[in-house]
């Protein structure tokens, strides 16, 4: 059994290279077994017709209900929101089992280099899964657990956990609660 499942729950066809990139980063960051999982179904109930966005909270509930045991990161291409904010890059249950991240706001229109989007996706994936491992936001420069309020925030941080945050993750990632 894997420790973390990466599940494409987007509208378009998955970009396998992107999911693989996320998998490698999660393995590196948490020392856990990570697998790309191809589950059926999409969180249709999370769509809010008034805001024309997807509720990340409802996606998390859906993931917990639908995904097999263990931690799960939903990756999507739809625009996510929480009720008080105009958008979020992703969301996670702190110390829970589900996280979601979206590429919708990571790819700015006209951005030529797909690699930049992949880097951003990997960072936000590690960030949200970090929350699942119980981590909160971190102010140490460059740490991937730094808050992401804008693309600039995402680009400013490196893809890794700082030593302090890494120290808070159980060593093999399997006993984490």
């Amino acid at each position: 059994m894997e420790d973390i499942r990466v599940w494409w729950i987007g509208e378009r066809h998955p970009v396998e290279r992107a999911l693989d990139h996320v998998r490698l980063h999660l393995e590196g960051a948490f020392g856990a077994r990570v697998a790309v999982w191809e589950g059926m179904g999409r969180p249709e109930e999370a769509y809010d017709p008034r805001r024309k966005q997807w509720s990340s909270g409802r996606i998390l509930s859906w993931l917990v209900r639908t995904a097999p045991d263990g931690k799960v990161l939903g990756v999507t291409d739809v625009d996510l929101f929480i009720p008080i904010l105009t958008f979020v890059f992703g969301e996670a249950q702190v110390g829970g089992r589900a996280a979601v991240v979206s590429t919708a706001r990571l790819a700015e229109p006209g951005l030529p280099d797909e690699r930049i989007v992949l880097e951003r996706l990997a960072k936000e994936s590690v960030h949200e899964v970090g929350h699942v491992f119980g981590l909160l936001h971190c102010d140490r420069p460059g740490c991937v657990m730094g808050r992401s309020s804008s693309i600039r925030d995402v680009d400013r941080k490196r893809g890794h956990l700082c030593a302090v945050c890494r120290g808070r993750i159980p060593r093999d990632g399997r006993e984490a609660t």
């Binding site: 008080i84 904010l85 909160l136 808050r147």
Partner: protein, 456 residues
């Protein structure tokens, strides 16, 4: 984490808003609690301290503006950020007028929320640092009602703190208006005698007979007009402190009487035979040069040494100009309390205050500020409100001596006061007795004109 000590209260009637905002802030490390309506929000504000309150404007029951008004009274240090789905200029203005820190339109841009929270946290940290620093400074720069950061005054504070608990006689020297009586009162308040009386007597204002009776009291019929027994200041100050101002002005006979009391702590009332014993600490003060008076024979040497056990010389304000901003703050604080309004001085007015020479010292400064506070239309005192002239009215043809300048200045103020000596003394920042003696010295009449030969 950012907000380890910043406690946030989220007030919104929508559960989904409370949850999503609370969750976002918790990931930033803020301890967050929430309240679903105005009533429970106010309850939480009565029972706990909050640093930031995120408050929904439209709620059933007590609405956001009412909660804001109440919150400002309950916890004025807390930053209240209003949230609303629809922003109107009127409500925004109203909320800001009621003291809201900021105003956010739901849903917020995540960066906007992050920056606002960072701003509020930084400001609160600065405010608490400042408050801590200020109270620390206040402690060091105060001796009771006297404020100063000048090294000379700090030495005086140290000496006064040490001397206060002893019973030793203290001699305070210094120009008129430097705060001799204020220091005497502070020493009394710091001493073990603070529960006892503090009596003050100016020796210059009275004739020898009157002063003698004021000091020692008299028996009925001791002299014409002594219709009843009268207790003197020495008796009245029993168990406390007697402050004798202008002690350099007393006559040779009274100098001797005073010396005897200081030596024996016993005396007779005028016209009485009963020996009265008192426990009084004497603090004497003068603006005269007592050593010179001793040298010239006008002041008893033995009395001088009896008084000069611990001597403190208060520097004139012009020699500690660094204290002017501190004193301005101190006096404006007192005036704010009295007048129930906010008071500040403009930069220009402060420049005028710093440039002035202050012949009347701290008392003059206090009077100038008091005048300014009364005259000023706004809360900010401008240079014109202070009534200080930058240059003397008449320009002397050549360099003047200090005495000439003082004489001219006093004549000008007397003329300005149309013969009202009390008012002139207030404006000059000196007491009436000092003004009279200066008028006598310079041969000035009440309206400032020459009285003919000096001394008449």
């Amino acid at each position: 984490m950012t907000g380890a000590q910043t406690r946030v209260l989220v007030v919104d009637d929508e559960e989904i808003i409370r949850e999503s905002l609370g969750g976002w802030l918790e990931k930033d490390g803020y301890p967050v609690a929430s309240a679903p309506d105005g009533r429970s929000a106010l309850e939480r504000m009565r029972s706990e301290r909050w640093n930031v309150v995120l408050l929904d404007l439209k709620m059933p029951g007590i609405d956001g503006l009412q909660v804001l008004e109440e919150a400002r009274k309950l916890q004025p240090e807390a930053a209240v950020i209003m949230m609303t789905a629809y922003a109107t200029v009127e409500t925004a203005v109203k909320a800001m007028k009621l003291g809201a820190t900021d105003y956010l339109v739901k849903p917020f841009d995540p960066e906007e929320l992050t920056l606002l929270m960072q701003d509020v946290v930084a400001q609160q940290r600065l405010a608490s640092d400042n408050a801590a620093l200020r109270s620390e400074l206040k402690k060091e720069q105060r001796f009771r009602d006297i404020v100063s950061k000048s090294p000379a005054m700090q030495r005086i504070f140290d000496l006064a703190r040490v001397a206060a608990p002893s019973n030793s006689t203290i001699l305070i020297l210094g120009e008129s208006g430097t705060g001799k009586e204020v220091l005497a009162r502070a020493i009394h308040a710091e001493s073990h005698r603070s529960a006892g009386p503090f009596m003050a007597l100016s020796c210059a204002a009275l004739t020898e007979t009157l002063l003698e009776s004021e000091l020692f009291g008299h028996e009925k019929g001791a002299f014409t007009g002594a219709v009843a027994r009268h207790k003197g200041k020495f008796e009245a100050a029993h168990g406390g402190t007697l402050f004798l101002d202008e002690v350099g002005d007393i006559t040779p006979k009274l100098q001797l009487d005073l010396l005897r009391v200081l030596e024996d702590r016993r005396f007779h009332r005028v016209g009485g035979s009963e020996l009265i014993e008192v426990d009084v600490r004497v603090i004497a003060a003068t603006n005269r040069d007592l050593r010179r008076a001793v040298a010239s024979g006008s002041f008893r040497e033995d009395l001088f040494y009896r008084l000069d056990v611990i001597a403190v010389t208060l520097p004139p304000l012009r020699e500690r100009k660094e204290d002017i901003p501190l004193l301005v703050e101190h006096f404006l604080g007192l005036l704010e309390e009295q007048m129930k309004r906010r008071l500040r001085v403009s930069h220009e007015a402060m420049a005028v205050l710093l440039a002035h020479d202050w012949p009347g010292n701290v008392r003059e400064l206090r009077n100038v500020l008091e005048r300014g506070a009364v005259v000023a239309q706004a809360d900010v005192l401008g240079p014109a409100d202070l009534g200080l002239r930058a240059a003397p009215a008449e320009t002397p043809s050549g360099p003047s001596t200090l005495e000439e300048v003082e004489r001219r200045h006093i004549a000008g103020v007397l003329a300005h006061s149309a013969g009202n000596v009390s008012q002139a003394a207030r404006l000059l920042g000196i007491d009436r007795v000092t003004l009279y003696s200066k008028m006598k010295k310079y041969g000035l009449k009440r309206r400032g004109e020459d009285a003919g030969a000096p001394g008449t």
